[in-house]
Subunit: 209 residues, 2 copies
């Protein structure tokens, strides 16, 4: 059975859009948003600059779309890790470990998702992305307080604080510009330190760690 | 005694630059970076757009200069509050209270300094600004551990985490777009909750609060 021409065109369009997104993601994962000007993306896709603009209104739209894909994937991994756990303490640990280890292992991409100075359109996506993590954490804290794992506390503040704490404490490790450290540490030390601080911050029982 | 013409010109130049910075700051404090296009700034100063560009290479340079002024002032207030305290615990409380209360009281400016999506040049300043707060906090934590006020911990991570925690936990309060909250709170509740979380996070003795 033959497809109609419009279906074929639509499929080809979708395929080229997908190629643009996947190629941009690779470039960003290797050198950040700064390494992904439209001309470079177009060349890497074997497309003209003009045809990039037939898929995205501008570079900011393309980068924002790549950001959303990357961010959604990270968030999905965190949710998956959380769902595999029972207690609120274990779920909170899953958020910290998954977020931190994936960031350290995909360092350049994590830097770009979290910190790289870039177009305001991407910054807007960043605010939404952080809100999603705060929501995941809010639910865990409410459950943990109800179950007696954490003391009563201001859950909205605590959830936002944890996400700020995790992401900011990774900044030094992820930065492409070396940040002065007062002590040297392995990646595992960093993740353990973040985890310890987060559990202490919400008053998790040391015994349940 | 008469000034030479070049001195007069230089003084007039400096005065106009100062007028541009002060006027931009007022506009940003009222409506964020978004409320400060070059044309609006020029009009408010009674200057032409062209003459704005004789002082700053572009809007991003002007905004970055306004950011630095605002950020330096905030940081100076925090340092002053810290220097007025003795113990590390009190100094840490001074960081949290000064940062949080000044942000809540100068809400729009704080939103712009911390979160508003804006030109990458300003984002670069933001990274430097946050590093300065982390440095202030690192010194306090080292002193507090040496004095036995806080348990041994990874100081670089803890300092970055605290700054991330304070700033992210203010995001909901400062946002011009309402953020869904699971509980309602006064400004004082918010500041107390942030303070409690920060002290718990570094293991400060409840008694010394």
């Amino acid at each position: 059975m033959a497809y109609r021409a419009t279906d074929k065109t639509r499929a080809a369009q979708a395929q080229r859009r997908e190629l643009l997104l996947a190629t941009s993601e690779k470039l960003i994962a290797a050198g950040g948003f700064a390494a992904a000007p439209v001309k470079v993306i177009a060349d890497a896709c074997g497309m003209s600059v003009g045809s990039v603009y037939s898929h995205f209104a501008g570079r900011a739209d393309l980068l924002a779309a790549v950001f959303r894909r990357g961010a959604d994937q990270e968030l999905a991994e965190v949710r998956k890790a959380v769902e595999a756990c029972e207690s609120a303490t274990d779920r909170l640990q899953a958020v910290v470990r998954t977020f931190a280890w994936r960031a350290i292992r995909g360092r350049q991409m994590a830097w770009s998702l979290l910190f790289e100075p870039v177009d305001p359109r991407v910054d807007e996506e960043r605010l939404i992305y952080r809100r999603s993590y705060v929501e995941v954490t809010t639910a865990i804290l409410h459950d943990g307080i109800a179950a007696g794992e954490f003391p009563a506390q201001h859950v909205d503040i605590a959830a936002a604080a944890l996400i700020g704490a995790i992401s900011e404490s990774l900044a030094g490790r992820l930065s492409p510009v070396p940040v002065e450290a007062t002590e040297s540490s392995s990646d595992a030390d960093i993740v353990d330190a973040i985890l310890e601080l987060c559990l202490r911050a919400v008053g998790a029982e040391p015994a349940s760690r």
